[in-house]
């Protein structure tokens, strides 16, 4: 499914396939007046001027100085997904510079210059960056190249058509003359902006489609990259913070007598629901915080447990008002009924870089150093908290040590501003990992009743998915809710599947979490939830029909060649088909088309008699349309699939007495090197527009693993994380030694 032409005249939701946040906000009532553009916009001159006043800045992305590398301003943030390399490739391809001749800059907060139409603001998320910028960044490069060539041709008094560009130099072959971009910058800057530019024929691409190494790696492998947590501001002091353990609770009082004795202690700073200790260094702040005597008002959620949340969801699923997601045809009168209940847990994001923000509030301005997916939201929040105008809020964005949706929120930045405005010096606030796990804006829980009717030959005639959950969108972007009150994200990849199923009914019951328990975007958003349900259930249908799971899916894809092609490719590469696998080893397939791409994952797993799940092999096949950087596409599949498998195996946030029970990587576990399977990534060549990649692998991981476990054990995985106690072969198995573990400490001691 490709993004249709964007209608910029009015605000509306657009369908781009598997995307949760596809909204265009322009015109009356829209959130922004303009979005990124290959040509100058109002505000562009000021932005360029603030960015070193380059000799030539034809748009918001390209700065050519008289000397030095071409500077490229990145409209999105780099949090590991490789977008800086991809965006540079798109700009550099058309501009005519090498990837080694550029320097990248983080974009300042500026909705008009860097707002992304698919998200309605300057934000990075929803696997939208390449899809959205594929045309505009190439065009931006072409505009600049055209003007530089025009400047050269005019100086030489030759026809511009006789000039070529190579590695930052305009060449007139007929006369042998050459001029570097820097020497042409001033003259190019004086030229009118061309209304139309020609984009390169894809067959002549020298960068796009070639495996490129990341431009941010050289600094990252020597520890030189500046993440937000690495900001150094003169006079800065360091704080760490503890918020009320229960959601919605408040700070009552603090006894700091012991903290004051900690060497390096500076002071205690309080806000409504949290207390921070400031130190000369983090250790003093941490020691001081641990030494505080804190009294909390635990508030209305003091008794809350996960069981209560689950029960409330179940009750609402039975009795709540439904909002229609999709109705196709009608439920047939006859057929074999298959039905199931699927449940997904709350999840934390746990990016490797703990949340942090450095803030300096003075009477006339507020400066913030942070790595954020939403720089403009940081500006608005700081303005609201300090009472300063937005023009007096300066946000310095940084490389991001993992986002996964966590840094689409500004809660930690707001907290840092609230703390910093009480002190005179710049304050760096660093959350501990415990604070990060316990005070995340968690991925929602889901409670889904799904059913289907099968024809005599096993074909699905109808399916119904009755989804019950909270909604992130209603808080994050209330205007994004449909007028019927639907959050499209909740039904993404459930309302539309790759398969030819003639009738369906998909609806949603909105069940808000208790006040104070905020839910947030999490890598893969709606598709991560719905693909687990739909693709696990497809496996159930294949089983009920007595069909091979790949063959069953294949039979429903006659009219969907792109999805069929990735299914066939993955099946071929893993050698799907009859054959002998060892006992308790199984393969599971899952297929989906989220984020404008198509993906099939086949996982091969072993389940030990003790219920231990060992990942043996994974094969991924994708069709993501035109690929900008095949190396990056592969890396996103490797990482994204493992991120999803890790989550399916280990991750849940649970509540007891209103507080999160997990606290750090020992009880919010992660896949480690010794657990990683062989992983192969294959791609179907395509000339379609680029699809999203950053969340693709994560969204498809859990159902493939669950289906593999079913194939290995006959136990159907209908809730996550995988409950290994249900996978024990028999009572004797638990008592026996793990004779075949082989790798010794392979899975950590809690499992043996």
């Amino acid at each position: 499914v490709n993004a249709p032409a964007v209608d910029l005249q009015r605000r509306r939701a657009i369908k781009v396939g598997g995307l949760s946040l596809a909204f265009v906000w322009l015109g009356a009532g829209g959130r922004a007046q303009a979005f990124i553009n290959a040509r100058p916009q109002s505000g562009d001159a000021a932005a360029a001027s603030a960015d070193g006043n380059p000799a030539f800045a034809p748009n918001a992305f390209i700065r050519v100085d008289a000397v030095g590398p071409v500077r490229l301003v990145m409209p999105n943030v780099e949090m590991g997904q490789g977008i800086y390399t991809g965006a540079c490739a798109m700009l550099a391809e058309e501009l005519g510079v090498g990837m080694d001749q550029i320097k990248v800059e983080h974009a300042p907060p500026n909705q008009a210059l860097y707002g992304i139409p698919l998200l309605g603001e300057q934000a990075t998320g929803g696997s939208t960056s390449t899809r959205d910028h594929w045309t505009v960044l190439r065009e931006a490069g072409a505009v600049a190249r055209t003007m530089l060539v025009t400047a050269a041709a005019s100086r030489w008094r030759v026809d511009a058509a006789g000039c070529t560009v190579e590695r930052g130099v305009v060449v007139h072959a007929a006369s042998g003359r050459k001029l570097a971009f820097g020497a042409l910058a001033k003259a190019a800057g004086a030229l009118p902006i061309p209304p139309k530019v020609a984009l390169k024929d894809p067959s002549t691409f020298t960068l796009i489609g070639k495996p490129l190494r990341r431009i941010d790696s050289p600094d990252k492998v020597v520890g030189a990259t500046q993440f937000g947590i690495d900001a150094k501001v003169p006079g800065m002091k360091i704080a760490t913070v503890k918020a009320c353990p229960t959601r919605g609770g408040k700070l009552v009082s603090v006894d700091d007598a012991r903290a004051r004795a900690v060497p390096g202690f500076v002071e205690v700073v309080k806000i409504g629901n949290a207390v921070a200790v400031v130190g000369e260094h983090f250790w003093a702040a941490k020691q001081g915080l641990d030494a505080l005597g804190i009294e909390w008002d635990l508030g209305e959620n003091a008794q809350l447990t996960t069981a209560m949340l689950t029960e409330a969801l179940a009750e609402r699923s039975r009795n709540g008002a439904t909002i229609l997601g999709r109705q196709l045809g009608r439920k047939p009168d006859e057929g074999k009924t298959v039905e199931a209940l699927y449940q997904l847990p709350l999840l934390a994001h746990a990016p490797m870089e703990p949340l942090n923000a450095t803030v300096h509030v003075t009477p006339d301005r507020c400066e913030i150093w942070v790595g954020t997916q939403v720089p403009v939201r940081c500006v608005s929040a700081a303005a609201r908290i300090t009472g300063l105008p937005e023009s007096k809020i300066i946000v310095h964005n940084h490389y991001i040590g993992g986002g996964f949706g966590r840094r689409l929120e500004t809660d930690s930045v707001e907290q840092a501003v609230l703390l910093a405005k009480q002190v005179k010096y710049p304050l760096k606030v660093i959350w501990t990992r415990e604070e990060d796990i316990r005070h995340d804006l968690v991925r929602p829980m889901y409670y889904d009743r799904i059913s289907a009717l099968l024809a005599k030959d096993g074909r699905p005639l109808w399916y119904s998915d009755h989804i019950t959950s909270g909604t992130v969108l209603a808080r994050w972007l209330p205007e994004g809710m449909s007028k019927e009150g639907l959050d499209d994200d909740v039904i993404e990849c459930a309302a539309e599947t790759p398969y030819a199923i003639p009738n369906c009914h998909v609806d949603w019951v909105r069940h808000d979490m208790p006040r104070g328990l905020h839910i947030g975007w999490w890598r893969g958003v709606g598709p991560t939830h719905n693909l687990f349900v739909i693709e696990s259930f497809m496996d159930e249908l294949a089983h009920a029909a007595g069909k091979d799971p790949v063959e069953y899916r294949r039979s429903l894809l006659a009219n969907n060649p792109r999805a069929l092609a990735v299914l066939n490719l993955a099946a071929e590469k893993i050698g799907w088909g009859p054959g002998s696998l060892p006992p308790r080893v199984g393969r599971g397939v899952a297929l989906g088309s989220p984020f404008g791409s198509h993906i099939c994952l086949i996982v091969e797993t072993q389940v030990t008699p003790q219920g231990e799940v060992r990942l043996r092999r994974a094969v991924v096949a994708i069709d993501c349309g035109i690929v900008i950087n095949p190396s990056s596409a592969e890396a996103q599949m490797q990482g994204g699939v493992l991120f999803g498998l890790s989550t399916a195996l280990y991750s849940a946030i649970t509540l007891k007495n209103g507080a999160v029970e997990q606290s750090n990587f020992h009880d919010y576990r992660n896949l480690r090197m010794n657990e990683v399977p062989t992983l192969e990534v294959y791609r179907v060549e395509s000339k379609e527009a680029p699809g999203g990649l950053g969340e693709l692998g994560t969204a498809i991981a859990a159902p493939a693993l669950g289906n593999a476990i079913f194939a290995a054990t006959g136990v159907r995985v209908r809730s996550l994380p995988i409950d290994r106690s249900q996978l024990v072969e028999n009572a004797d198995a638990l008592g026996s030694v793990v004779a075949d573990s082989g790798h010794g400490h392979q899975h950590g001691p809690e499992n043996v």
Partner: protein
């Protein structure tokens, strides 16, 4: 849950014993764990340079590096030796600096990500990391590279099991593990790994 923590500590101690990536204490010189407030001047050898720091004895080396000396390449990830983002070398051995009291360092030389490129194994690892294009967000990679360099400093041609043992204490939330393994093999063998998308020898 505390028993789980204890078991994990054993788990990683075991990894350390196998790979040589042990904690700070060595059998020859049992170290006194200093008490909080036991503050004095420490002279640390870091990346071949001498640094004098006036800090509490129990302050973890991580925060001395970051907040006192200003070497920001070593990262904070968990504070309890679970993720390995803070890994540095003490006399060539990988240690988790977030739980290593500065008072226990003594005269041993500290190597961080900023200095490991000056060691043969560190240089090979960093080059392989670039060639294989390992990094994503990059936040954990300082620690990954330090663990890998320590491994290669001790085992010239590590097996997959050696790699598992040396690297399982380092979490990568982006899950770059497939390429980390390939890069370690390349650094060890000097032979370009056969990667799916980057042809061997491609620049």
């Amino acid at each position: 849950m505390s028993s789980l923590v204890a078991m994990y500590s054993l788990f990683f101690a075991a990894i350390g014993a196998k790979s040589g990536a042990s904690s700070a204490s060595s059998p020859q010189t049992p170290l006194r764990i200093p008490l909080s407030g036991d503050r004095r001047m420490y002279v640390l050898s870091i990346n071949g340079e001498s640094h004098s720091v006036d800090v509490p004895a129990d302050m973890p080396l991580l925060w001395v590096l970051r907040d006192v000396i200003g070497l920001m390449g070593t990262k904070f990830g968990c504070g309890i030796a679970q993720c390995g983002a803070c890994t540095v070398h003490l006399d060539g051995q990988a240690v988790r600096s977030c739980v290593l009291p500065v008072g226990t360092v003594g005269a041993r030389s500290v190597t961080t990500i900023e200095g490991v490129g000056a060691t043969p194994s560190g240089k090979k690892v960093q080059e392989a990391w670039l060639d294989v294009d390992v990094v994503q967000c990059g936040y954990c990679q300082s620690g990954q590279i330090m663990s890998a360099a320590a491994l290669l400093g001790q085992v010239a041609n590590p097996t997959d099991d050696d790699i598992n043992a040396a690297m399982s204490g380092n979490i990568c939330r982006c899950a770059t593990y497939v390429r980390i393994r390939a890069a370690i093999k390349q650094a060890a063998s000097g032979k370009a790994q056969v990667l799916q998308t980057i042809p061997a020898g491609a620049t």
